[in-house]
């Protein structure tokens, strides 16, 4: 174990190295570029024993990742924004082909209105591809989550690709203390089936309407099963490394709370300060942080929010024509609950607009009535 001051991108790269990743295929894009640069440096210096394939586009990057994973390797890549959008077709492929690729995504807005800054819209719009999605709120978490993502993704009951998402610049370029080292946490990846030149098989075959529905249903069920695997992985990680790193969700001062802030990503960390300040003013506020967005931990969300009166959900992305995606999911999870709280949706921080704990405090206290936290409250 080593403790150092590193950026979120460095944390992702070091985690890939420490996870024993064998193949990396990538096409760099801001703000995830330094992940690939750091891996290139480590491969060059011999610190990382992996094959780095530089391709001509993100579409090809994911195609190469799928190929490498299908031949039994542990595979990693990183991207952002337009690069992720360009991968879209292959994201579906990776999920349906059951290749447990792990990908770091430094979240960034999509243009035009050219904007390289933080916005979760890029990964939120890949919600239904079949990928597992984790959203981090510190650099330590980026490191730990990449490592744990392999254990979840490669589990025989899961076998799905996973995205480890983190706010561009806000985490990707900010340096924070990170403890590295994973001990014996990961075993070698043993693919249940793989490309074998001595025994050729067809991968990604045609599947008629007689079968396709079962294939999607299996993807769906595997996501369900993943919830339990995610909880087990979180526990195993803590007992082997001594670090508790929430993988499904995190509750902060929620036990006796009357109002819950529900947040995701970096804003959830900032929200903790808002919780503390509001508590100091005598307000019973807590935080529910959604770490895993797919599979969505509905049962645990209900359990966490049933006892509060009000939940204020903060999204750093928006589904035009409807509302923030997290807001939708929280409402849908609580629909069947008899004791569902009042649920209020707010949108904040699009395109990197800074979100301060003061703005969050104001939002909890009923300001920003139109749902848009568009002011940088200093």
């Amino acid at each position: 174990m080593e403790r150092k001051l590193i950026t979120g991108n460095q944390a992702a790269a070091l985690a890939a190295r420490d996870s024993g990743v064998e193949v990396v295929a990538a096409y760099p894009i801001t703000p995830s570029t330094p992940v690939v640069e750091e891996i290139a440096r480590m491969v060059e210096s011999g610190e990382m024993d992996a094959r780095l394939i530089l391709v001509e586009s993100e579409h090809s990057a994911m195609a190469a990742c799928i190929g490498a994973s299908a031949s039994g390797s542990r595979v990693f890549t990183a991207t952002s924004s337009h690069g992720l959008a360009y991968m879209h077709e292959l994201l579906h492929y990776a999920a349906n082909a059951r290749t447990p690729v792990v990908m770091a995504v430094a979240n960034r807005a999509i243009g035009p209105g050219w904007n390289i800054w933080a916005d979760l819209g890029d990964t939120m719009s890949q919600r239904d591809t079949g990928w597992i999605q984790f959203y981090c709120s510190s650099n330590q978490e980026i490191y730990d989550t990449v490592v744990m993502a392999y254990r979840v993704a490669e589990d025989r009951q899961v076998l799905l690709p996973a995205m480890v998402c983190y706010d561009g610049f806000v985490l990707s370029h900010t340096a924070m203390p990170v403890v590295t080292g994973i001990g014996e946490f990961l075993e070698e990846y043993r693919a249940p089936w793989k490309v074998d030149f001595d025994e050729p098989e067809t991968f990604g075959n045609i599947l008629s309407s007689d079968y396709y529905m079962e294939l999607r249903k299996d993807v769906f069920e595997s996501h369900r099963k993943a919830i339990r695997i995610i909880k087990k992985t979180e526990e195993a990680f803590e007992s082997l490394t001594g670090r508790y790193s929430p993988l499904l969700l995190e509750k902060y001062m929620l036990d006796d709370a009357e109002t819950a802030i529900v947040a995701i990503g970096a804003i959830a960390s900032e929200s903790k300060i808002a919780v503390r300040k509001l508590r100091r003013d005598g307000k019973k506020v807590g935080l529910l942080r959604i770490k895993c967005f797919r599979p969505f931990p509905s049962t645990d969300v209900v359990e966490a929010l049933e006892s509060v009166d009000t939940a204020v959900v903060i999204d750093r992305s928006i589904s035009p024509g409807h509302e923030g995606q997290l807001f939708s999911e929280i409402k849908s999870a609580l629909y069947s609950s008899r004791n569902r709280p009042e649920i209020i949706g707010k949108v904040a921080g699009l395109g990197g607009r800074d979100v301060t704990f003061r703005a969050i405090e104001k939002a909890v206290c009923g300001e920003f009535r139109d749902g848009w936290i568009n002011e940088v409250v200093v």
Binding site: K4, L5, V170, M176, I273, T356, V378
Partner: protein, 290 residues
């Protein structure tokens, strides 16, 4: 809840001067002294010469903030012309510290706080004497860091020296020298300000419907302060072909029929116009800031 002691430092610079690196080095030095620390670069337009911000938090307990710093305990100003163009004192706590790269005396600065500790150092001179110049820009970050350490006694300069040595493997000697020169040449004074609270700076409240490229005040700001070089049209050679008007990425070449004119509020000094002019009618001069 017990809150530990913390310091928040904001760096002001322009691309190429090393603000981001300085923020990181300071965070690293603090980290080695046992503090929690955080270094946040803020990249605006990614271009040399554009104003850059960076932030360092140093704390006795875990740092949960992910936002930028608006009420710093200290500002470190890398660019000698910035005080005229951006409000470097904005939000700085009363009684706080400003470390400024300047040839002026501390007393020359005007601010709204009651009192500040102003620390000045001619970092350009130190950078030039130590040959810390990259593509024509003196890299002033290290001498300023040295000046800051003179006031901020929590971090021994020797620790920072180690950090510099590791960071600049090839050029560490000149950088370590520059740090100590900054440390020793810092002029530190308590200076009184006007004590008048300033009106809040205007927030971005423009309506954006279509992202068009014509610069609007408040979107990319006045890009004129990015300029290191300024294009000038020689009208005796200009034929009015409009090539410059067509190519300017900021739409800063204005036209009236076939007559062209440069809008210097928004010209960012990229010199595309000069390179596409078939008559070489657009000459290039060094920008003089005032």
């Amino acid at each position: 809840m017990v809150e530990g002691v913390r310091w928040e430092i904001r760096f002001h610079g322009r691309g190429g001067q090393g603000a981001v690196t300085a923020s990181l080095l300071l965070a690293e030095a603090a980290f080695r002294c046992g503090y929690y620390s955080q270094s946040i670069p803020f990249f605006g337009a990614e271009r040399r010469g554009a104003p850059v911000l960076a932030f360092t938090r140093i704390s006795e307990e875990e740092i949960l903030e992910r936002s930028q710093i608006y009420s710093p305990d200290c500002v470190i100003v890398l660019d000698p012309v910035l005080p005229g163009t951006v409000n470097i004192f904005s939000g700085l706590k009363n009684g706080g510290i400003a470390v400024i790269n300047t040839t002026d005396a501390p007393e020359k600065f005007r601010f709204h706080q009651n009192v500040l500790t102003i620390c000045t150092v001619d970092a350009v001179d130190i950078a030039i004497r130590n040959h810390l110049v990259v593509s024509g820009t003196p890299v002033v970050n290290i001498p300023l860091l040295g000046a800051f350490l003179r006031i901020f006694s929590r971090i021994p300069p020797e620790i920072t020296e180690d950090v510099i040595r590791e960071r600049f493997r090839r050029n560490w000697k000149a950088n370590v020298r520059a740090m100590w020169e900054g440390y020793e040449n810092a002029v530190i004074r308590k200076v009184k300000g006007s004590g008048k609270t300033m009106s809040q700076e205007s927030k971005c409240s423009i309506a954006v419907r279509v992202p068009v490229s014509k610069p609007v005040k408040g979107v990319a700001g006045r890009t004129s302060i990015w300029r290191d070089f300024v294009p000038e049209i020689d009208y005796s050679r200009c034929t009015g072909c409009l090539n410059c008007w067509l190519h300017c990425p900021e739409s800063a070449v204005l036209r009236d029929g076939r007559e062209v004119r440069i809008d210097y509020d928004f010209c960012k000094g990229c010199l595309v116009c000069s390179s596409v002019c078939p008559k070489t009618a657009i000459s290039v001069a060094r920008e003089v800031m005032g």
